[in-house]
């Protein structure tokens, strides 16, 4: 799976309240509506600027805080192609895989906003085309690869009716 897009950089500990505020997420199941407010408290213009396939790039502990699955869904519906971070909070990490949002653990310290990036999930490689740098990606646990390759946990259950992770 190869993904290409431009970087939008954020810092450490981007919590799920920042990704999509509680004041919006309780109101609706319309993820397109929620996507208009994604990352609003950190960057009010982000939802307008982001182009389909762009990457959210962050430091440590991306997605900490609440268990809201609206967080990966709002990012997906805003057009975000993947999230790249040094580390992820565990509930967000699970939710992203379950809903089909690629999450990539790698050294993000040299990436700047606007950089053109190419991610190859199979090869486990991130290429920063703007800077001419290659960075290795930490592979997903095999269980998660299985769920992601089935198209998320809902598709996995549709196929097998239960967990089939061998």
């Amino acid at each position: 799976m190869e993904l290409r897009g431009r970087a939008h950089c954020f810092g450490d500990d981007v919590n799920t309240d920042y990704i999509i505020s509680g004041k919006y997420k309780f109101k609706t199941l319309d993820m397109k509506e929620l996507a208009k407010h994604v990352m609003e408290d950190l960057d009010p213009d982000f939802a307008r600027r982001v182009q389909p396939g762009d990457f959210v790039v962050a430091g440590r502990n991306f997605g900490c805080g609440s268990s809201r699955e609206q967080a990966p869904l709002a990012l997906l519906n805003a057009g975000v192609g993947a999230v790249l971070a040094q580390s992820f909070a565990r509930i967000f990490y699970r939710n992203a895989i379950n809903t089909g949002l690629p999450v990539v653990i790698c050294d993000t310290s040299l990436i700047e906003s606007g950089d053109e990036l190419l991610v190859d999930l199979e090869k486990g490689l991130l290429q920063n085309l703007t800077k001419g740098i290659e960075v290795p990606i930490k592979p997903l646990p095999s269980v998660m690869l299985k769920i992601l390759s089935d198209g998320g946990l809902a598709e996995h259950f549709r196929k097998y009716g239960t967990f089939h992770l061998e």
Partner: protein, 417 residues
């Protein structure tokens, strides 16, 4: 090789001899969703072609995050939950029953050795009862509703040993805010926390919930404690289920063991906008506040309300402060009425709202204005958490919140005791 509490519970529930970093599929004893997460879980259930909820008597929906509904859109989502739970014979706790993390222990659904998932990050609260209880998202909840199972990576464990005795005026909330400030917001990510030591053993079960509740704020998957006599007695008073307590082996392997002496600890405050931004109260004392909140799954229990009432007895809330109280459940509400605690709070100037999560999570019941400072017993102070990103949230114990409400500024509660 010996096992930690987490390794033992996940071994028991999966039938595998599991150790840290193993992947297991385990039988889940109880499943829960709230009104911020259940509607999406229902959609995922449908997308999975789910036909019925497995063992519906061990699955609950709780309407607590926007309860009662402040908006038409929310009302529609609540209706969806009511309809789904009825069709599937699930347990439903509707508006006014209380906060999910108070209800699951109080109604006897969870106890020592049990494996619990909840579509809410503070599900780790029941670790105080020796339950492996962890937050998941809506799709994971849907999978568990259908199958009764969940996959887990067995976590490594960090052991926190708390020595000494908490001084007067210093509570379990101060202790956990201090621990989080030491290990930081991602210091225990993907890991289990085990809390032990004489300072933990000395706490009531209610006070212990506060510590396990905030394990997620250091990134932990669960916040586990051993089930001592206090826990077993508490559980017997609330449940008819047979639970089997799980203790760690003496030769269990830990990723780290952190020891603290809490005998000199000050009341602690987490400054905006991070939970790990903790300082002794003295560093921020005198900061003016416009709103004080007592309640939430962290500190909305009878003991918390009683501690606040002791400070507020015969005093009035400062005229520049709105003081909002949300008992954690209907039972807490009733108990606080019976003991006179509620009367004391109301006489002091409290505005009491329906048991629920509103004042913590910005859905309703006390959204601050631009530039205002709020002191709250909640567990999160992220920018925008209370629905205004221009407000400032300070986290503190019920005693510190009560003292600050009286003086109109952040105040060391030891001035009042």
């Amino acid at each position: 090789m010996g096992k930690t509490i987490a390794e033992k519970i996940l071994s028991n529930k999966s039938g595998q001899n599991a150790y840290a970093n193993d992947i297991v599929v385990a039988d889940v004893d109880f499943r829960m969703g709230q009104d911020g997460t259940s509607p999406l879980a229902i959609r995922a259930f449908e997308a999975m072609n789910g036909e019925r909820v497995y063992n519906p008597e061990s699955a609950a929906f709780v309407i607590d995050h926007s309860a009662p509904s402040p908006l038409e859109g929310v009302s529609a989502l609540h209706s969806l939950m009511r309809q789904f739970s009825k069709e599937n014979n699930m347990i439903l706790y509707d508006i006014g029953e209380g906060v999910c993390h108070q209800l699951l222990p109080e109604k006897g659904h969870v106890g020592p050795g049990s494996l619990v998932i909840g579509a809410d990050s503070h599900t780790c609260t029941y670790g105080a009862l020796n339950a492996f209880a962890t937050g998941v998202g809506s799709t994971d909840l849907a999978a568990a509703l259908i199958s009764g199972k969940m996959w887990f990576k067995v976590p490594e464990t960090i052991k926190f040993v708390c020595h000494g005795t908490l001084p007067a005026g210093v509570y379990s909330k101060d202790l956990i805010l201090y621990l989080i400030s030491q290990v930081t917001a991602d210091g225990a990510t993907y890991m289990a926390a085990e809390y032990t030591g004489e300072a933990i053993q000395a706490l009531s079960v209610e006070a212990r919930f506060t510590i396990s509740n905030m394990a997620i704020e250091m990134g932990a998957k669960v916040g586990l404690m051993e089930a001592d006599d206090k826990v077993m007695e508490w559980v017997r008073a609330h449940s008819n289920h047979k639970f089997e307590a799980v203790s760690p082996d003496p030769d269990a392997e830990y990723a780290a063991i952190k020891e603290y002496d809490v005998s000199q600890l000050d009341p602690y405050i987490a400054k905006p906008h991070r939970v790990d931004n903790g300082v002794p109260v003295g560093e921020v004392a005198g900061t003016p506040i416009q709103q004080a909140v007592l309640g939430t799954c962290t500190n909305g229990r009878l003991e918390d309300l009683t501690i606040a009432a002791r400070i507020l007895k015969g005093r009035k809330v400062h005229p520049d402060v709105r003081f909002i109280v949300a008992p954690a459940s209907r039972q807490v509400y009733l108990d606080a009425m019976e003991t006179g605690v509620l009367k004391t709070l109301v006489e002091a100037g409290a505005a009491v709202v329906t048991p629920g999560c509103g004042p913590c999570v910005g859905t309703h019941n006390g959204i601050p204005s631009d530039g205002e400072n709020v002191i709250s017993t909640a567990n999160r102070n992220f920018k925008g958490r209370m629905a205004n990103n221009k407000a400032f949230i300070y986290l503190a114990s019920p005693a510190t919140v009560a003292a600050s409400a009286v003086k109109g500024e952040i105040t060391d509660p030891r001035e009042f005791i």
